[in-house]
Symmetry: C2
Subunit: 165 residues, 2 copies
């Protein structure tokens, strides 16, 4: 990695594997959702984070339009478990998740999407490539996609990575 903090990639992977992280999008009606999947590495000689969002999600239509998002990771001593459950079960179509649920949309540094102010580690990302998941293994397909709605993969450059507080 080039621009990220030492250990940031490990903290991202640990977060999504064990508790979750917040993926936030901006525009006229900002939203955040919980992600438990993703990856981080290098493509096109840039730091790249890959996230997966189902087309049925409210976040999907915003991300398609805005092309930018942030990922915010809670601190170890403030895991935000209740907030992660909330953001992962309620749709932004039905409720403004940044109002009255302990999640603050704070300004990011380099992208229009907000960061989650209660978190400790933030990645600001610009989409470089989007792709559908084709040719899925039959061992994965029925369990995670019984009704279709296959995730869109977004490969996005990490344009900023920092801690707050």
């Amino acid at each position: 990695m080039r621009i990220v903090l030492p250990g940031a990639e490990t903290r991202f992977i640990e977060a999504i594997t064990h508790g979750g992280a917040f993926l936030s999008v901006g525009g006229p009606r900002p939203n955040t959702m919980t992600i438990g999947w993703g990856s981080i590495g290098d493509f096109w000689n840039r730091d790249v984070m890959t996230v997966a969002v189902r087309p049925s999600r409210f976040t999907h239509e915003i991300l398609e339009r805005e092309g930018e998002f942030t990922v915010s990771v809670p601190a170890a001593d403030r895991p935000l478990s209740r907030e992660l459950r909330f953001a992962g079960t309620v749709s932004g179509r039905d409720e403004d998740k940044f109002r009255g649920h302990g999640l603050t949309a704070a300004p990011a540094k380099s992208v229009g999407a907000p960061i989650v102010g209660e978190c400790a580690l933030h990645f600001e990302c610009r989409v470089l490539c989007r792709t559908e998941m084709d040719h899925m293994d039959p061992g994965v397909l029925p369990r995670f996609y019984p009704d279709g709605d296959l995730h869109t993969l977004y490969l996005a450059e990490v344009v900023a990575c920092y801690e707050t507080k």
Copy 2:
């Protein structure tokens, strides 16, 4: 991550960003190539490594057929720079890279593809999903794909991860 060694994901990302790693495939005519791109994380609640291989590569046709590969990372005190340059410039169509170039195809534990015996850290991977890169950012496209030949992305489960020596 679930099965990988502590710090393995960081060592993978560092390797591809700074020196490169070997991606090896098996079958009747095993081959290895140098990769400088990739990512690691979690999808479908599994440890997943993503690699990118251009359709023009000899490795591509083997990977399409076999569906398995390994990634081998050199030790810090034995960076294998000459071997990485070699494996990244010569095609397996023209030469057997595992003969006479200081690279040994050693048996893997869980997949048919070999590992590179001279390396220190190994990931054994089974492809779960392959996809073409669509909707590429115009800032990326002309520089890396002036003649098309867009990479195929392989999202693969890490079924084993270990050190040798």
